[in-house]
């Protein structure tokens, strides 16, 4: 048995003339939790759909759970749980009926018991006879997660599962995901939340259909080659505009009562900050935020892309 869950090479998807996914390689080990990040329209959903056989790649090849993603997708579907970005269960069925439907589709043994357990796990026993369409957004997400994990898949593909979910529930969501991963389930989850990226073993950053970087959060930050400083002091916001104008500074953001600046060239930034205008400001070197790394990486990809053209 190989320990690789997903392995794809040069995955390309075109819709008409438009290239939406442009040559993605992935190698995901079993039992890992991978985060898919990237701006809107960067191709996260499209990539996930190709992995589980819902879209046929224009070119490229790959395997998922040992099955070929183009020819053997029916076996992949058997062992995969795919949670769509938009709620796709039946709003005119009750919560329980939706779960029962899934149980029957996968021909589960002890399906009644599994449905009851799933209802208990998401805390919807009392509301099991309510129409799924009447659930609030966050509760729908919980129902969807319960439904796609009902058949105990080996691989979970979760497309923005926590969009619109409150912090408490998000925490529970992730506790659940980590528990599954502990049991050997491979999880691939797309998200726009940076704090969720931190909860993944590995992250993939996509932009414009291209894989910009992969690795752990620390590796991605390191890869970006950024340095970051935290500036504090009286009325610190007044410096914002001035800092933004500096060539060596790529980003200025205000949070937590301080200004965060990032850039590439550490010594040049330090030289600039040494100016007498900043003698009221205390400067402290910090680790760049993931978000900053992503923004910088996207900009780099764009500029190198335009050079290429």
């Amino acid at each position: 048995m190989s320990d690789v869950a997903i392995e794809v090479e040069g995955l390309v998807k075109k819709f008409g003339k438009k290239t939406v996914v442009n040559g993605i390689d992935l190698n995901i080990k079993k039992g890992q939790v991978w985060g898919f990040l990237g701006p809107n329209g960067s191709g996260k959903t499209t990539t996930i759909r190709m992995i589980c056989g819902l879209l046929t790649p224009t070119s490229g090849k790959g395997s998922c759970l040992g099955y070929d993603i183009i020819r053997e997708s029916k076996f992949i579907k058997q062992e995969t749980g795919y949670m769509t970005q938009h709620f796709s269960f039946w709003e005119d069925l009750t919560i329980k009926e939706n779960l029962q439907f899934v149980a029957r589709m996968y021909n589960l043994t002890k399906s009644d018991e599994k449905v009851v357990n799933a209802l208990a796990e998401i805390g919807l026993q009392q509301r099991q006879d309510q129409l799924a369409g009447n659930l609030s957004g966050g509760w729908k997400q919980r129902l969807a997660l319960a439904a796609v994990t009902l058949h105990q898949p080996k691989l979970l593909l979760l497309d923005e599962p926590t969009a619109g979910v409150d912090p408490q529930a998000r925490r529970e969501f992730w506790a659940h995901i980590h528990k599954l991963s502990q049991q050997g389930v491979t999880v691939l989850v797309s998200t726009h939340y940076m704090d969720e990226a931190q909860r993944c073993d590995q992250i993939v950053y996509l932009a414009n259909g291209q894989l910009i970087t992969t690795g752990t959060v620390a590796q991605v930050i390191q890869h970006s080659g950024l340095v970051s400083f935290r500036l504090t002091g009286h009325n610190i916001r007044q410096y914002s505009e001035e800092l933004q104008k500096m060539k060596c500074i790529q980003g200025v953001a205000f949070y937590g009562g301080s200004l965060h600046i990032v850039g590439k060239d550490k010594s040049e930034i330090e030289a600039n900050l040494a100016s007498s205008r900043f003698n009221q400001v205390s400067v402290e070197a910090v680790v760049p935020e993931l978000e900053e790394a992503f923004i910088a990486l996207t900009q780099q990809a764009k500029s190198s892309g335009s050079e290429y053209q």
Binding site: R49, C52, G53, L54, L55, T56, K74, K77, Q78, T80, Y82, T84, H86, F87, S88, F89, W90, E91, V102, M105, Y106
Partner: protein, 375 residues
């Protein structure tokens, strides 16, 4: 001014949307054109050239004159010359002829002797609209045909009541009751409308609501999905059938003289044919709205060209050709045949095969077109 600008905004938006929705646009132009063609050219309430059989026990100068008189009237088209009456009856039950004209031995002798021989026309009256005009003309046709031959000493035979006694047997619906024909026909029309629309809508609804992606992500084969979706509606159709048949029998007093089981198998085959068609439509339509439109697009020629509303024989050849391709046409022959004429399997086999072929073609098309991916 504000008001005008808002009006303008809405106008522009509507036009843009109209242009985007090709199907609606095609419908808006297509429906009037189709209706014009169908009502203008295809439909004819005074059907001519009705297929008829001739059974003559003698062949004389007089009988030939009468037959050519019938043919010249353009109401009767003697497609079959039969050796015995049973053969003619079978043709009528199959729905291949509308009339049997019979001439008995001794007809000419009785005619010249002034004995007013009988001329028997057996008419399929199950659809009064088909036969009534032709039968109304029959007496005139006979009298005129003989006028040339009954001259000289025979001229006195041309009395007011005519030289021949015309006897008309209206078979299957002796009292010319329109409901006898309409109510069984309605069964076909209602099944067409509901079966096609319900499946087409049920499928497109899942696409509209995003459920399709979910189904596709589960390990289900197209055939399983299709059968699973079709079966419940076969039951619905069976219940509809029961209601209509009971109403036909006990409210409208429509006779039911054939085999119930034969009709039932026809009904089930017909429902499946329509469900397959609805399934195929759902693979073409992008929204429930479009599914509705496609259904209507199909429904219109179905009721106009199948012989439900207007006599099939009254239509020009091209319209009959289209009609033959519609399952409703064949189903109407089955229902009317079984209920009104007591037709059996031998009489109706071709109609069953026609629907079966339609079903197989549509079913295959539906499976081939069913999306396995979201591409």
């Amino acid at each position: 001014m504000n008001r005008l600008s808002r009006l303008w905004a809405i106008l522009i938006k509507e036009f843009i949307q109209m242009r985007r929705d090709r199907m609606t646009f095609a419908m808006m132009l297509g429906i009037p054109i189709i209706q014009l063609i169908l009502f203008g050219f295809a439909i004819n309430n005074d059907p001519k050239q009705l297929p008829a059989a001739i059974y003559a026990e003698e062949d004389t100068h007089f009988t030939r004159a009468i037959l050519s008189g019938f043919a010249a009237s353009r109401y009767f088209n003697f497609e079959h010359v039969v050796k015995d009456l049973d053969q003619a009856q079978t043709l009528m039950k199959k729905g291949e002829i509308a009339f049997i004209v019979t001439i008995q031995a001794g007809f000419s002798r009785d005619l010249v002797n002034g004995l007013k021989p009988q001329l028997l026309i057996i008419a399929d009256a199950s659809d009064p609209a088909v036969s009534s005009n032709a039968l109304g003309q029959a007496a005139n046709i006979v009298n005129n045909a003989l006028r040339h031959d009954l001259t000289g000493h025979l001229a006195n035979l041309q009395s007011k009541t005519g030289p021949v006694e015309l006897v008309i047997h209206r078979k299957f619906n002796p009292e010319n009751i329109t409901q006898y024909n309409i109510v069984p026909g309605l069964l076909g029309v209602i099944l067409t409308m509901t079966s096609v629309m319900i499946t087409a809508m049920a499928m497109t609804r899942e696409r509209e609501r995003g459920n399709l992606e979910n189904i596709l992500a589960m390990p289900a084969q197209p055939l399983e999905v299709m059968l699973g979706k079709i079966f419940p509606y076969v039951l619905v159709g069976a219940v509809q059938t029961l209601i209509i048949i009971l109403a036909a029998r006990y409210i409208f007093d429509v006779p039911f003289i054939g085999y119930v089981l034969l009709l039932l198998s026809g009904v089930i085959l017909f429902i499946i044919a329509n469900l397959c068609l609805g399934f195929t439509f759902s693979t073409i339509a992008k929204s429930q709205m479009q599914a509705m439109q496609l259904t209507f697009f199909f429904f219109l020629p179905s009721i106009l060209l199948s012989g439900f509303m207007f006599p099939f024989w009254g239509m020009p050849k091209w319209a009959q050709f289209i009609g033959e391709a519609l399952p409703l046409t064949h189903f109407l022959r089955i229902v009317r045949g079984v209920m009104l004429k007591g037709a059996n399997w031998q009489h109706l086999a071709t109609e069953f095969y026609a629907i079966l072929i339609f079903t197989l073609v549509m079913g295959l098309l539906a499976i081939l077109r069913y999306q396995r991916t979201l591409d």
